[in-house]
């Protein structure tokens, strides 16, 4: 094998490896973003439930104007794919969603999203934790 052929082989190998690493990384980040989107979508559903809970009178199992005791429905918050917990306060509600299958950007913990809903301003703040 000539020196030029060897050099070509090494260059092809290098380009191939870099492309493979790049593609793997890209697919990983797409996978993580998909998982975040799925969790945030489910949290939107739970926000709607929380609003319904808040406006329902206490005698009907609602919050009677507050969502301090709001707990998301177990079948919506706890699945094989993710787990969502919530804490309600008089002026806002906060959700923490954690994936059970996709590892996040730090390479150790699972994908995690923090979503806060402020009803006065109708604002939903999404913070990507991992």
């Amino acid at each position: 094998m000539g020196q030029q052929q060897l050099l070509l082989l090494v260059i092809v190998f290098m380009i191939g490896t870099v492309a493979l690493i790049g593609a793997t990384e890209y697919l990983d980040s797409v996978d993580q973003q998909n998982e975040r989107d799925v969790i945030v979508t489910q949290i939107h559903t739970l926000i709607a439930d929380a609003i319904k809970y808040k406006i329902s009178p206490g005698s009907l199992g609602g919050g009677g104007g507050s969502w301090e005791n709001f707990q998301p429905q177990r079948n919506k918050a706890e699945t094989d794919r993710f787990s969502i917990t919530a804490s309600g306060y008089p002026n806002y509600i906060i959700f923490l969603g954690t994936s059970k299958i996709v590892v996040g950007s730090n390479g150790e913990n699972f994908v995690q999203v923090l979503v806060s809903y402020y009803p006065i301003t109708q604002k939903i703040v999404v913070e990507t934790q991992n």
Binding site: L6, F13, G88, Y89, L96, N106, N109, L114, Q129
Partner: protein, 135 residues
């Protein structure tokens, strides 16, 4: 005699080619690990379940990051310098996850926690009725 010299030359050339290829592979391998290490966002987050927080809390106490942790009153004193060096994601995770931890221990449904600086007693972060705030 001359034939022998050519044979040695061939051998040396092959050896040199092999060394060059090996060096390329070593550099590529090193680059691979450095690249992956660079890609990972180097942040420390707590595990998903509050029941698994124990070892990390103990490690932070040993590092003197957590100076005191009053679970009943949901108040935590931290080293301010180490707090400042943390990213916003780490701070948010710290506040929200430890608030969940306190709520679980106190059998409460609401996550509440106040993070105070050990030196100045200044509120560095809090979650509670007033909202979620991180400095």
């Amino acid at each position: 005699m001359s034939v022998r010299i050519i044979k040695i030359g061939d051998y040396e050339r092959r050896q040199r080619k092999f060394l060059i290829a090996l060096m390329f592979l070593v550099i590529l391998g090193l680059g691979y690990f450095i690249y992956f290490d660079y890609q990972k966002s180097n942040i420390t987050l707590l595990p998903a379940s509050p029941s698994q927080f124990g070892p990390q809390i103990a490690a932070w106490k040993e590092e003197n990051f957590i100076r005191s942790f009053d679970i009943a009153h949901a108040t935590i004193l931290v080293d301010e310098e180490q707090w400042t060096n943390r990213t916003r994601k780490e701070k948010l995770d710290f506040v929200v996850q430890l608030a969940r931890y306190c709520a679980k221990k106190n059998r409460s449904q609401q996550w509440t926690l106040q993070v105070l600086g050990f030196e100045t007693k200044r509120a560095l972060a809090e979650i509670g009725k007033e909202g979620l705030r991180v400095d």
